[in-house]
Subunit: 359 residues, 2 copies
């Protein structure tokens, strides 16, 4: 069979027909040479074309106004749904803080790990004296929010070990949509503690959803434009963002002065002192500050849209390991400057593509 084929091939004469139906001369035809390519030299196009393009742009500018209203309506929807989520967040807080022990029928969530769970349960009832009593002494879910934050790369990076004793007192993180100015507040609620006097630390983000009159075609939906922190009121000598050093200074005459020097150390609480954006729009901001702000905006968006709603999945670490469709699809975009994979899914409103199996 193989040799028969070989003989046929040896005796073949090839006639090529290209898609125009012309008969070639037996050589392989390069189709490309048969067609002229499209003219995309829009810069040299005649005035009449430019005029029509201007008309299209004017139509698009009207489209941007419609799109702005679409996002306005989404923003109203978000407010409506925020109030529907609140009771769930309140129940979550009751459980994490230990104010309320869930009933059995509130805990029957089926999971793959249920075999181990039931073994633990059995061991507990068989041997009430050991694990039982000890565990019953634990109030709620200790360090729920700190653990959840430490499981998210981009948040973990912000937390220094000297921040942890403070963040162990973090009881809740909540988000609050704000109408005027449009935006949202992230509230970090602390139990009374020996480090800070504030019961709530707040980071506020301002958003705008305006079509710029001077450049309407640049509109691309709501965007965060600014953020503000708050003053952390530290208990005396408990400011973990500073190291104090006292120096005794002896001058050449032998007299001694006592000088206190303070050094700032990196801290999670720097999150509440973001760089200020100058009101002068022509002030050229430092590239590094710009990167820092972008990152801050990303983090705020992420905490609001993903971290707070799905906190339990970050507490268990499942949000970080169950990438599911994302990884299966070979979505190997490089993380930007250490932003974790979670950050690539910043938006609650973003329709996503599914693993085709996942139907």
């Amino acid at each position: 069979m193989e040799s028969q084929k070989g003989r046929e091939r040896g005796g073949e004469e090839v006639i090529t027909i290209n898609p125009d139906g012309e008969v070639g001369d037996g050589e392989e035809v390069d189709l490309n040479s048969y067609f002229k390519t499209a003219d995309d030299s829009s810069l040299t196009e005649p005035w009449m074309i430019r005029r029509r393009v201007k008309a299209l742009k004017k139509i698009l500018a009207r489209g941007m106004q419609i799109e702005r209203k679409f996002y306005e309506e989404i923003s109203i929807l978000e407010r409506k749904y925020e109030s529907l989520f609140q009771p769930l967040y309140a129940q979550r807080l009751q459980i994490t803080s230990g104010k309320c022990e869930p009933k059995d029928e509130e805990c029957d969530f089926p999971e793959d790990s249920d075999a181990a769970y039931e073994l633990l349960q059995k061991a507990r009832s068989d041997n009430k004296g050991s694990e039982g009593d000890e565990a019953d002494g634990i109030k709620g879910i200790p360090h729920f929010w700190l653990t959840a934050m430490k499981n998210v790369g981009v948040l973990a990076e912000m937390i220094e070990s000297h921040d942890e004793p403070v963040l162990q007192h973090l009881e809740n993180i909540s988000v609050e949509l704000v109408a005027e100015p449009n935006g949202f507040k992230i509230n970090f609620h602390f139990a009374p503690n020996e480090f800070i006097k504030n019961s709530v630390l707040t980071k506020s983000y301002t958003m705008k959803n305006d079509v710029d009159e001077r450049d309407p075609l640049s509109y691309d939906g709501p965007e965060i434009t600014n953020c503000h922190g708050c003053t952390v009121e530290w208990q005396e000598n408990r400011n973990v963002t500073q190291i104090q050093r006292q120096k005794k200074i002896k001058d050449k005459n032998g007299s001694v002065k006592l000088v206190t020097e303070k050094f700032r150390v990196p801290s999670f609480f720097d999150f509440f002192s973001p760089p200020e954006i100058p009101s002068d729009p022509n002030f050229e901001m430092d590239e590094e500050v710009l990167v820092q702000l972008t990152r801050d905006f990303d983090i705020g968006q992420f905490i609001r849209e993903t971290f707070i709603p799905r906190a339990v999945m970050h507490y268990t670490g499942e949000a970080e390991t169950d990438h599911g469709s994302d990884e299966d699809e070979g979505d190997d975009e490089t993380d930007y400057d250490g932003l974790s994979d979670d950050m690539s899914n910043l938006s609650m409103n973003k329709p996503r593509e599914a693993d085709p199996y996942d139907q």
Copy 2:
């Protein structure tokens, strides 16, 4: 002054106070060693904690149902706004196809390039004989959609030079939201031409917005789950996706047979023959096919949400060069497998972060 400082420094004695208020012995203090780190060993946590985590998961599963309804309402909003955009798309088509010449007051969109535009206009009225007559003979905006597609990296890659003579007849690209099954159709409308018989080629995308009963916590908003193409009906001998070769085969007895061989060549029109997703969810799909489908879903989403609404900006190439805030912010994520920057902004519903100056 410099030497005075030097002397002081030489005589200094350092006392360090750490944030706990304890006085150190003059050595620099490592704050980290003063605090124990948070316990994040959730896998070994006692049964009572596991039980509370289960309660939180059950609460989150209810949250997912609320989130699903939120997206359902967004989907209703999208339908409402689709109908508001239609008149604008109809006007655009009138202009690009040349069915209607815009009035002067419809073309007064101010731009940076207006000086050049006015020079062209003046030259035209001064010298009606040359550019004027020639340009007036041009109907609409020739090759509007082909040019726009060729300016977008990810679409340009799909277009082979043998596709261009066909795509020059592309008159419009429209999107149609579909309720049952939920999804959208992208319609490619062709003027009568010598290549294909179809006046419309359609690519349909199916979406789902269901919380999986077996895995409710994996819910993450609407997702594309499948897509279907259509049959391109080529005019005889005008199928640009095939090269035909006729072979005369002489066997050893000297008799001649004429055999026609067809070879497929890569083509934009492969977009209408996406891989089929087997209905058996346990069928293991080829990794390469999975990547191809993911890419196809991304492209469909992009055409729907960005390319069709902003087509004029892709025609001029401004959508590709005016990255504005994106680039300023150092958002240097690596493009995935040639997907252009445009693709990183796939979603219409995605709130974006602004250039802080852009307020």
